[in-house]
């Protein structure tokens, strides 16, 4: 056979011309063989086809031989057929006219008596990706779905998806989704079922933003009936299909705790699967199902440790990295549950550095009183590591542990030992850490300063470290005899200092030193201020000027500004907000975990995967900082807000995915739900006449007692709301996705209300007084958007969900209500409207 070209074809080199002559040569040979029935002709064809495909692989365009290839395709040799199909599939899209040539023989093959040929031909037919050929697909696909061979049905199911991507209209017009659904529920072959499921998932997921029916269909895949139908057969599916099903199950909302335990018992043995993807998908199901059951949730963490650790140990380093990333996520969420497993996170010699980095972070997180000594001892071993980035990372880890511990005594000693190692990068990292440590524990200054004072500033070159050293010189100049002189020599070399960061610190340190030891520093400070004012860097220049003028004005004022008494820093800002972390946790078993970023940060929206959130709520930045600790979303992007509201008007209100994105997961295991429901909210002040009268049954009772005539009495429904209703964002989103709109109406807003509505908070507080809680809000004047919820006060979990879009310019509010109990929604709406109408009438 022809040897495949062994050199890269990316840039045609002199020895490897563009391949034109080869292609025309191939064409000629193919043409000669086309009609030949001579013995051995198939063998020569095979050789030629192989050459064509090898050119194709390396990127040479061999589409010129299209018609010759098609001519040669009339053969019974299945290997030849397959190569031909591969070729045709590769070039059909760019040569639609030529693709038409192949339709004939592919259609014929779709009717072949060999199921394998039928399947192959159907697959190739659907893979042509040529829009004007779709009419030829419908009939073969229809019969393919009904074929007696499961192989053909399997191929046909995916063929429907391919057709959908070429022409969605044709796909729907031919009723293929309906056929797939019934096939999914009846086919005896597990792979056919799995393919139907994945096709329906992809189609409904892409359609859900366009039509309400599609989003209903998508929700229907999550019905109890379908979930149990798939779960009960789970062992018939191969491991890949199991992953698909498990991913679906993780989106399922169980009806009660029995439901949860049934599913978990059914899936328990999946945790012993050798395929890491199956195990992780199972874990996702377990974690999501038990979100609201804290004790069980914690048991799940305990249960999944062992299988995850085993997966980390088996398999290739790439596979264990993927698993370790997930373990990392869990450790970061609940470090105390892993505090006795610290030895598993020690770095191994053979670990790639991306694995070591994860392990160092885990060790840092789980360090507590019981294991700090061991962990820090281990980390100190890595500090001398030949792998410099890891050595640096280890030192940082020691520092972080020191900052999060109460007993830092031993750790400070170790850090100071690092300084004695006299390796530049170790010294540099350590200086930065000692600085942070001193900001938190000023009481250690004495020990640290003694050692830091011995460091020659000439050995410190990295800007960050230099800045740290200079900061310490300024801050502790009274304790370091040489401080003014070291600063002076540094200032003398002002022009050689490239980093503005260092020059800024130098200015401030010179000032601080001056306040403490004026006679010794005066000269140096003068030099620094002069150099600073001549500096080309704007910040440096400005700061020097500021200091200069401050000093001119009043030295004691300058001291109060530049060196005020400091409080020790208690907590350093975390780099990642807990909202982002929660979002990543919701996207468990996806790339988000590996990247440590939620998917919206690295993926365009149409690719976020099945059952992903539509951006309607998905892009709201989750904010927990709201008043009264109410979990609330903060929508800050005005354009986004408008964009979504437009889409809503197109008739896709339930575009929310059902993803449980935005769980407010308990960080401590003392039940966040309990804390939510027990927290105190401003109770409606009964004496306040401007407050709605139906806000709680307590109010109504008092009204009745006093015999007060409530103006709105005739329309007042016998509905009272739970003033302490609680709902986590995840459940809200799922419910919003599942329920249909029961009321959609426009109400007007009082001009006084408009005047008060400068920030969303005003309305949120107002509605809260009527037992209507806000879960997400956003926007800027004149457009605001809110998501509210309320709960019936009869202890049934019957919720009302409201989307409220307010345009203050028009004085209008567009209100959509969804309710667990639709019959009560009229009553609720009246209540909501009455509360809203009173807004601003204080």
């Amino acid at each position: 056979m022809a040897p495949p070209p062994s050199t890269a074809q990316k840039s045609p080199s002199p020895s490897q011309p563009s391949g034109k002559s080869e292609v025309s040569d191939l064409k000629l040979q193919l043409r000669q063989l086309a009609g030949s029935r001579a013995p051995g002709a198939d063998d020569s064809k095979r050789d030629l086809f192989k050459r064509v495909i090898s050119y194709m692989t390396v990127g040479i365009d061999v589409s010129a031989a299209f018609s010759e290839m098609v001519m040669c395709s009339a053969t019974s040799d299945i290997v030849l057929k397959k190569m031909c199909y591969l070729y045709v599939g590769n070039y059909a899209r760019c040569h639609p006219d030529l693709a038409l040539l192949t339709i004939n023989f592919l259609q014929k093959d779709c009717r072949d008596e060999d199921p394998m040929i039928r399947g192959l031909a159907l697959r190739s037919l659907c893979s042509l990706r040529v829009p004007n050929l779709v009419e030829y697909l419908v009939a073969p696909l229809g019969s393919g779905l009904k074929d007696g061979s499961s192989y053909v049905r399997m191929v046909a199911a995916l063929g429907v998806l391919k057709l959908y991507h070429i022409s969605a209209a044709t796909c729907f017009d031919s009723d293929f989704p309906v056929m797939l659904k019934s096939l999914m529920l009846t086919d005896p072959d597990a792979q056919v079922v799995a393919n139907c499921l994945l096709v329906l998932q992809e189609i409904w997921n892409l359609e859900a933003n366009k039509s309400e029916e599609a989003s209903r269909e998508r929700e229907a895949l999550l019905s109890k009936q379908i979930i149990y139908y798939l779960l009960n057969r789970i062992k018939e599916f191969n491991e890949w299909a199991q992953c698909l099903i498990l991913e679906l199950v993780s989106k399922y909302i169980p009806s009660d705790s029995n439901d949860i335990f049934d599913i978990m018992n059914l899936l328990e043995d999946r945790l012993q699967h050798a395929n890491g993807a199956v195990v992780l998908a199972t874990i996702k199901v377990f974690l999501h199902l038990t979100m609201s059951m804290n004790d069980v949730h914690q048991q799940v963490y305990e249960r999944l440790k062992a299988p995850l650790l085993t997966l980390v140990g088996s398999g290739s380093s790439e596979q264990s990295y993927a698993v370790l990333s997930h373990l990392h996520l869990l450790v970061m969420r609940a470090p105390m549950l892993f505090s006795s497993d610290y030895k598993h996170f020690y770095c191994q010699f053979s670990d790639p550095s991306y694995v070591k980095k994860l392990k160092l972070e885990m060790l840092t997180a789980i360090a507590n009183e019981s294991n700090t000594y061991e962990i820090v001892t281990e980390l100190c071993e890595y500090a001398g590591n030949v792998d410099v980035p890891i050595a640096r990372e280890s030192i940082r880890a020691v520092g972080k542990i020191a900052l999060q511990q109460y007993d830092v005594n031993a750790i400070v000693d170790r850090l100071l030992q690092f300084l004695e190692m006299e390796k530049d990068y170790i010294t540099a990292e350590t200086l930065v850490l000692v600085k942070d440590l001193l900001r938190k524990y000023p009481q250690w200054s004495h020990d640290c300063i003694a050692v830091v004072g011995n460091i020659s500033s000439k050995n410190v070159q990295e800007p960050k470290a230099k800045a740290a050293l200079i900061w310490m010189l300024g801050e502790y100049s009274q304790d370091m005899p040489d401080a003014p002189y070291i600063l002076e020599s540094l200032i003398e070399n002002w022009d050689e200092e490239n980093a503005a960061e260092v020059r800024l610190h130098l200015l401030t340190a010179a000032m601080k030193c001056f306040f403490k030891r004026p006679p010794e520093t005066q000269k140096a400070l003068g030099a620094a201020l002069a150099a600073g004012q001549a500096d080309t860097h704007q910040d440096v220049h400005d700061r020097a000027l500021l200091y200069y003028r401050l000093l001119q004005y009043d030295v004691s004022v300058a001291e109060r500004v530049v060196n005020p008494p400091k409080q020790a820093v208690s907590v350093f800002a975390d780099t990642q907000s807990s909202e982002v972390k929660d979002r990543i946790f919701d996207e468990f078993n996806s790339l988000s975990v590996v990247y440590q970023k939620p998917s919206y940060m690295f993926t365009d929206k149409e690719h976020r995967g099945p059952f992903e959130f539509s951006e309607e709520m998905g892009n709201l930045s989750l904010g927990q900082e709201s008043m009264d600790n109410t979990p609330r979303y903060d929508e800050s992007d005005k354009d986004l807000l408008l964009g979504t509201s437009e889409k809503e008007e197109n008739g896709a209100p339930s575009a929310n995915g059902s993803t449980a994105s935005g769980y407010s997961a308990p960080h401590d295991y003392n039940s966040s739900l309990v804390s939510l429901s027990s927290q105190t909210r401003p109770e409606p002040a009964t004496s306040d006449p401007s407050l709605p009268k139906h806000s709680s049954h307590g109010n109504i009772a008092i009204d009745d007692l006093l015999g007060l005539g409530v103006p709105a009495a005739p329309t007042t429904p016998p509905l009272s709301l739970n003033p302490k209703a609680a709902l986590d964002p995840g459940t809200f989103q799922r419910k919003w996705g599942q329920l249909v709109i029961s009321i959609s109406q426009e109400c007007s807003i009082d001009p006084q209300g408009v005047a008060v509505l400068t920030t969303p908070q005003a309305l949120i507080r107002h509605m809260q007084a009527s037992s209507i809680q806000c879960i997400a809000s956003g926007g800027q004047s004149p457009n605001f958007k809110f998501f509210f919820f309320a709960q019936k006060d009869d202890k049934s979990p019957s919720y009302f969900l409201v989307e409220c879009i307010i345009s203050t310019a028009a004085g209008k509010a567009q209100v959509k209500v969804k309710a667990d109990d639709a019959s009560a929604s009229e009553a609720f709406f009246a209540l909501f409207q009455s509360a809203l109408s009173k807004f601003g009438m204080l």
Partner: protein, 451 residues
């Protein structure tokens, strides 16, 4: 769901390239290769298996010096794609016998045929060698095994002992042998990777065994197989006392922390008599993976010492003692030790009469490398080295050197004492008696002695 799959050689050439969905621009293979080749992000020198460039996710595994890569725009499960890539490599190996650049280039049409069935429109369909057999028609072109460098854990049997039929593990599942009939045989390999860290005083700081029972079956007719493990095998720590001694006829007490199984394994009688039942499918697969942190006797004791010996000089002594029976021989041993960066020259002193030993100073990496062809059980070997420094050392010299790291392979030895008591094959006829090979091997994963 993936968009493309491709295999690149070490030089970045496309060996196989398949686009399933056309959602990623054409130059992806080149973008991937450049990124991996010149990786410099987050202070790391090695590209992680998963990264994102302009919204395209590149997921890869390295097998036999080749890159197996998948691209996607979707937020997929990284584990799923990595497992899938690894499985594609394994299925390809099952077919070709040997997996390397040469065999792939010779058989790329067959690989395309496989890929067509393994993945459809980006979704994995089947990776079972057994199932795929009925869809794949190309005959593999077998490359010469003898000229190939050893690959993967299985190949170590080729060098170790004479009892092993060396060609078996490199045999394709579909190729028939010259004799016409296929040889009925089954291989069960117990492969253990051990990690041990010794403190400077010789204490064991951490130790762990990651083991796998790997099977490769060439049996026709899919007979059922029973694989019996140690009777006194417990899983999960605290699942039984180590001191509860009974007869050791069952292979001794083994306590595993945890294990997992291939999906074809039935565990009906596992709780009763520690027997695994399965119908092995064609091709190579892991029957069981396990992990053990129970204390075990490490096969080697390593002692290393560095001492200053006058101005600008230091002496290194590394001692290795084999703590296993004399009937067992470890092979391809290398011992590495980083030395202070200001080391200029090193002179070595091997023990008198040393055979098959070499010692070398890797100047670029500032590392001593000592390799030994083999070490017989019970033996002890020593290396002495004299270092000359280009500048005076300051501070503690032991903090500037080490730790010592050791690599080795020990055939017919397993540290965990996990055993296959018997391997029973359901008989089709009285004369049916296939070859059965049960083999043990231990490899170092991370074997480190601190100074």
């Amino acid at each position: 769901m993936i968009t493309q799959f491709f295999v690149l050689s070490q030089r970045g050439d496309n060996i196989v390239f398949r686009d399933y969905r056309g959602e990623v621009p054409k130059g992806s293979a080149e973008i991937f290769f450049r990124k991996v080749k010149f990786w410099k992000e987050d202070e790391e020198e090695e590209a992680p298996p998963v990264f994102n460039v302009d919204g395209v996710n590149y997921i890869h595994v390295k097998v036999a010096g080749l890159f197996f890569v998948a691209t996607t725009r979707v937020n997929v499960s990284p584990s799923l794609v990595l497992e899938l890539l690894q499985r594609i490599a394994r299925v390809t190996k099952d077919y070709l016998g040997i997996l390397n650049e040469d065999s792939l280039r010779k058989n790329f049409v067959l690989v395309y045929e496989l890929l067509d069935e393994v993945i459809d429109f980006g979704y994995p369909q089947t990776t079972s060698t057994e199932v795929l057999k009925s869809y794949v028609f190309n005959e593999p072109i077998v490359v010469d095994a003898a000229r190939m460098p050893p690959l993967g854990p299985a190949s170590m049997f080729m060098q170790g002992t004479k009892r092993m039929p060396g060609t078996a593990v490199t045999k394709s599942v579909v190729a028939t042998e010259p004799g016409g009939r296929k040889r009925e045989e089954i291989f069960v390999d117990i492969i253990e990777k051990i990690s041990v860290t010794f403190s400077s005083s010789g204490y064991i700081l951490t130790s762990e065994i990651d083991g796998t029972i790997q099977m490769k079956s060439y049996l026709t007719g899919n007979p059922e197989i029973r694989l019996a493990l140690n009777e006194e095998l417990s899983i999960g720590r605290g699942g039984g006392s180590v001191y509860d001694y009974r007869s050791s006829a069952g292979g001794g007490v083994v306590i595993l922390d945890d294990c997992n199984f291939h999906e074809s394994v039935r565990l009906d009688s596992f709780d009763v008599d520690r027997t695994l039942t399965l119908i092995p499918s064609d091709g190579e697969f892991a029957v069981m993976n396990y992990r053990m942190t129970q204390e075990f006797k490490p096969p080697f004791r390593v002692n290393a010492l560095i001492e200053e010996a006058g101005q600008l000089k230091a002496e290194v002594i590394i001692k290795v003692r084999a703590d296993f029976s004399a009937s067992v021989t470890a092979n391809t041993i290398t011992v590495q030790m980083p030395v202070p960066t200001y080391t200029a020259r090193v002179s070595f002193e091997l023990e008198s009469g040393a055979v098959g030993q070499t010692a070398d100073f890797k100047e670029g990496a500032k590392r001593l490398e000592w390799s030994l062809k083999k070490i017989v059980g019970g033996a002890e070997h020593t290396l002495r080295a004299k270092l000359t420094f280009s500048q005076e050392s300051h501070g503690n010299i032991t903090r500037e050197a080490g730790p010592v790291n050791m690599n080795f392979t020990i055939p017919m030895y397993n540290a965990s004492k996990l055993q296959v008591r018997y391997l029973q094959i359901a008989k089709k006829s009285p004369s049916y008696n296939p070859y059965r090979w049960v083999r043990y091997v231990t490899q170092s994963n991370s074997y480190v002695a601190r100074l």
